[in-house]
């Protein structure tokens, strides 16, 4: 490649600007070191360094340069930082320069300046509107997507976890002012002086909005000095808060606003900062004042996407505010007066204005006259039709245009230039107003959507309200707030002449690439094609062409696209309408939205009362329904399997101790407690005798089993019901909901005591002997204390409840005590148990033992279609007279179908084990794919039985006992014999000892 001749032109102009030329800053872009100054944005620094290709376009990988100076940027999207401080999809126009900043272009490889995928530009005919649907049909989208995903996309996901903190902030205010341009500041002054609590949020690092780059005098002083004066006045008011680098991104019901505040984006990333990186505001405002300004639209012509083709306001923004300009020979194109401001300012800085093409035939406004006076040539009634230049624009071609007749003259004139500034008019930033539910109206005077109807307490002012000229903004403020207008030189402007696309009468222009959405690479031809394919609804059109769907949300493209769609379908813009604006206005990091709900705080686990003891004794913890519970206790060099087998053997032969505290425990008390609970179980509750316990199933109205557990009647009017450990909160809420809403007259009080009361379970043949050794005030003799009974007593003087129950199939006792005593009692029991061979056991051993017994685990063996009859509760559920929840659903034809999937045992043929989720094939099939007759729900190794034991749900299981079924899972095919769902001690003899 030939080396480029270095420009002698210095892009950093020798003028006073807002950058501090005494403070240089080094930064890196695509691996190369550059230098900017304090006060620069990344974009202004890149321009100053002559980097005109900053990214590659989304589909075609065409070279693209910086096109704007703000939040509307569609090209200069960069990936910032190095691992772990990586931030994808940042707009270079919004990034403040700091020492050592590292930025990388996106969607280009190896870099933006030299991109291998630029060859895609030759494949243009394939990338028409809806190309995903058209091109990748064969063989399937799945085949193509990995390739396409690599080619088309923006930033890359960081590899390491984000090391920064993000905070939430909840706040209320009387007045929220979004945008601190001159309109917002006038409103802030008015409300501030009236004593209202005012919050001003500004997305930039400075107040002033458009005045930051306008050469205007207000009250005889510069606009910047005027802004500083107002800022000082506002800062002195205690009731006014100004927050910079904060963007209001969402407007929701009842004046609820979300604001993303960036506290550390402008400084170099650092580890262990005491300050959060971003703060995400949840704000409720009595009134919201939307002073978000307006965004300039580009003009649409052939090859309008070349680097150094920029919005007219952006060119003067960079020149006036940062003292930089991309190139010296400037051509302007416009359909309104504002571009003339750029021409005047740039000319004053000594830059060469090649010419101005204005589509209006006879522009006569004050600014136009001033330009004319300088001898700059204005090509009235002309438009740019095409450009050239491989790595940056180097010429434009213009032609005479008759907008009324939609006709373009064949003759073209060509001008050499290396910077093109275009203005297609201004669109008020109505995003927040639209999000609030407010309606929009298309204003013919400014050719843009303006706020129309308000549905919440908000007000759009200034450019956001379609009031563009400074004098008019002051007049609006006087009308709204009675503020005396400051003195300015009045400027008389003329109206815009809409030009949305070039006339189609010349074939070469008609078939050219005229970009509408630069970020998603949508051309005017794509829009017209979509219209021809009958995508007339704006919502369908948007999704089909992807116009306005990228991270800029169509800030510069939406109105142009709507107008072109309208023209192609013979409608005007109001008839086409606009899509609803949706949050967020600007991209927001996921970190900000997550706040502190991250890492271990995302879903904090609850520790058990005896957590420290478990940890000290080798427990391997796991998350079981939100509780941090021991899965097993590993002794030195034991594998998990060895540890679990040892624990099971200890329970089956001696005695085991289990921290069963997460067991859901809900007290239901009151005169109507018995009748009330009868509604919640499919078996009887009210006929239970005091101090007796019973196992029951809880249903929902669909008849499906939602939970199970033992309930105990402590007294005529007092029950304790137990639930699965993950279900306690949910079931307590369910009881409360029905009590309040369906049976408000029932006299019942519901209290969830799950976390207040610990539970220690002793299981095994020696459990009674162990308990008889300690200071327990309850007679444990089998004749005195039967299975499924409860006693109230004391251990060492501490009041406890003790229940004889079992989830293991062994003689078992559950001791309930206030949580604060649990640790002491546990340690005492462990000590007393040594002589009986006591071992602590974890959840894995418990699950294996309940599977040996065929006891179901809700949500594992059952799902949202399981009814009581499927798990052996058909008879009590049918017999019970009370109209309990779900009863009627058990009478539906689906519920009484004879061949439902029911719980069965699966005895594996051979030495293999099954995997839960394994598919039981329909009879007659030897391998998958095959129709499915059921599935494996639980499977454990059973040292007791000497083989794996499994439970499953099997279609028509009652009639298939003894059948050998074939089971498919990821390990392959297995075979199992269908047996009754109880492998161990089917008579229950071990319980009744």
């Amino acid at each position: 490649m030939a080396r480029k001749i270095k420009h002698v032109f210095n892009r950093r102009l020798d003028i006073a600007s807002q950058v501090n030329l005494e403070k240089p800053i080094d930064f890196y872009f695509d691996g190369k070191k550059y230098s900017g100054f304090e006060g620069d944005s990344l974009a202004s620094a890149l321009i100053a360094n002559g980097v005109n290709i900053v990214g590659r376009s989304f589909k075609y990988h065409r070279p693209r340069g910086i096109m704007s100076a703000g939040a509307e940027e569609a090209n200069a999207i960069v990936q910032l930082g190095k691992e772990p401080h990586v931030q994808p999809n940042m707009l270079a126009t919004n990034v403040e320069l700091y020492h050592g900043l590292v930025a990388k272009s996106v969607n280009a490889w190896p870099n933006a300046a030299f991109d291998i995928f630029a060859i895609l530009n030759l494949a243009k005919p394939f990338f028409v509107a809806g190309f995903y649907y058209k091109v990748f049909k064969w063989p399937s989208w799945k085949f193509w997507s990995p390739l396409v995903r690599r080619l088309a996309g923006l930033g890359t996901v960081p590899k390491q976890p984000d090391p920064d903190d993000y905070d939430y902030h909840h706040a209320h205010t009387d007045i929220l002012i979004v945008g601190a341009g001159i309109a917002g500041l006038m409103a802030a002054l008015a409300h501030g002086k009236a004593g209202k609590k005012v919050l001003v949020v500004e997305q930039q690092n400075q107040l002033g909005g458009a005045l930051l780059f306008e050469k205007i005098k207000i009250d005889g002083i510069s606009a910047l000095a005027k802004i500083a004066e107002i800022e000082a006045e506002l800062t002195a008011m205690d009731n006014v808060t100004i927050v910079k680098r904060a963007t209001a991104i969402g407007y929701y019901d009842d004046n609820f606003i979300t604001i993303s505040e960036r506290l550390r984006h402008h400084i170099a990333p650092q580890l262990n900062s005491s300050k959060p990186r971003e703060r995400f505001w949840h704000l409720r405002a009595k009134q919201v004042i939307i002073a978000t300004g307006a965004i300039e639209r580009p003009l649409v012509f052939a090859n309008n996407d070349r680097p150094n083709i920029m919005l007219a306001n952006a060119v003067r923004h960079y020149a006036n505010r940062f003292g930089v300009v991309a190139a010296k020979r400037i051509f302007l194109a416009t359909n309104n007066d504002d571009a003339y401001r750029s021409a005047l300012d740039l000319h004053a800085l000594g830059l060469h204005i090649v010419g101005i093409a204005d589509v209006r035939t006879n522009p006569q406004g004050d600014l136009v006259a001033a330009v004319r006076k300088l001898g700059i040539t204005i090509y009235a009634g002309h438009a740019i039709v095409d450009t050239s230049g491989a790595r940056a624009v180097n010429s434009v071609s213009i032609a005479a245009i008759n907008v009324a007749d939609n006709h373009l003259d064949e003759r073209q004139r060509r001008f050499n230039c290396n910077l093109v500034a275009t203005s297609g008019g201004w669109s008020p930033v109505v995003h927040l107003h639209s999000q609030s539910g407010g309606k929009l109206r298309f204003d013919d005077g400014i050719q843009a959507f303006v706020p129309h109807k308000y549905v919440q307490n908000n007000l759009c002012i200034g450019a956001a309200n379609g009031v563009f000229e400074l004098g008019d903004i002051f007049a609006e403020a006087q009308q709204n707030y009675g503020i005396m207008p400051p003195k300015i030189n009045p400027v008389l402007t003329e109206p815009i002449l809409a030009l949305w696309d070039l006339p189609p009468n010349i074939k070469k222009i008609r078939t050219s690439k005229r970009w509408v959405d630069l970020l998603h690479d949508v051309t005017a031809t794509d829009v017209i094609l979509a219209a021809r394919e009958n995508y007339v609804s704006v919502e369908h059109f948007k999704r089909y062409t992807t116009t306005g769907m990228a991270l800029d949300q169509g800030k510069t493209s939406n109105v142009n696209a709507l107008a072109i769609l309208g023209r192609a379908t013979g409608r005007d813009i109001p008839e086409v309408g606009t899509t609803k604006f949706r949050p967020p206005y600007s991209p927001v990091t996921l970190g900000a939205m997550a706040g502190r709900d991250n890492g271990i705080l995302f879903s904090p686990l609850r520790d058990l009362p005896m957590h420290n003891w478990h940890a000290d004794n080798g427990a391997e913890f796991e998350d079981y329904g939100g509780w941090n519970r021991p899965a097993y206790y590993a002794k030195s060099k034991e594998t998990e399997r060895q540890a679990v087998d040892r624990e099971i053997n200890a329970v089956r032969q001696h005695v085991g101790i289990l921290d069963y505290s997460p067991l859901g425990k809900i007290m239901v008390q009151g005169p109507d407690a018995a009748g009330f609970l009868d509604y919640f179980y499919c078996n009887n509750v009210s006929n239970l005798k005091p101090m007796r316990a019973r196992y029951g199933l809880m249903l929902n109205e669909d008849g499906n089993v939602i939970d199970d557990g033992v309930f105990v009647r402590l007294a005529a009017d007092k029950y304790m019901v137990t639930t699965t450990s993950g279900g306690a909160v949910r079931f307590a809420a369910t009881l409360e909901e029905w009590r309040q809403c369906e049976w408000p007259d029932m006299n019942v009080v519901i209290t969830n005591i799950t976390t207040g009361w610990a539970c220690i379970s002793l299981q095994g043949p020696k459990a009674r002997k162990l308990l008889q050794k300690i200071d327990l005030s309850v007679d444990l003799a089998a004749a005195e204390f039967g299975h499924m009974e409860m006693r109230i007593g004391s251990i060492n003087g501490v009041e406890i409840k003790i229940m004889r129950t079992s989830f293991t199939g062994e003689l078992g006792f559950e001791i309930y005590m206030p949580r604060s005593y649990a640790n002491a009692i546990w340690q005492m029991l462990v000590k007393a148990g040594q002589e009986f061979g006591l071992e602590p056991f974890g959840l894995e051993a418990l699950m294996a033992m309940r599977t040996e017994k065929g006891f179901i685990h809700i949500g594992v063996d059952t799902d949202s279609t399981t009814i009581p009859g499927d798990v052996g509760f058909g008879v009590p559920a049918a017999k019970k007279k009370v109209n309990y929840i779900g009863k009627r659903s058990l009478l539906r034809p689906e519920s009484v179908r004879k061949d439902r999937e029911i719980l069965v045992g699966l005895k594996v043929v051979g030495a293999a084990s099954l995997t839960p989720g394994g598919i039981i094939l329909a009879s007659g099939y030897d391998n998958a794919p095959a129709p499915m007759d059921g599935r494996v729900t639980s499977s454990y190794n059973s040292p007791t039985m000497g083989h794996a034991v499994a439970l499953g749900m099997l279609k028509d299981g009652h009639n298939r006992m003894g059948e050998i079924v074939k089971i498919y899972d990821l390990a392959g095919m297995s075979q199992a014999e269908v047996v009754k769902p109880c492998f161990f001690d089917p008579q229950g003899e071990r319980l009744n000892v």
Partner: protein, 100 residues
Amino acid sequence: MMNINCPYCGLRSEAEYKFGGPAHLARPGPANEVSDEQWANYLFMLDNKKGVSAERWCHSHGCGQWFNMVRNTITHEILQTYKITESLDKKFGGQDGAKN
């Protein structure tokens, strides 16, 4: 994010509440006298109204009380909140003697 007036606590943010489906839904019974169609209507054939709709809400992160709310599901305008035992106002289609 609506601001909802809990009949017990006053104005609180929607984040404190939980939505509980349509209000004033009568549970048919006894089970053996209810037809499949009646039961299906109760369980599944809910109005899901576009416009003014009576709903049950629970101030779950507040007082824990369930209450009823008349809300416009298009504009999210809240027209009335009232206790769970109170009837739907006639102006919103409530009828004399109707179930709460």
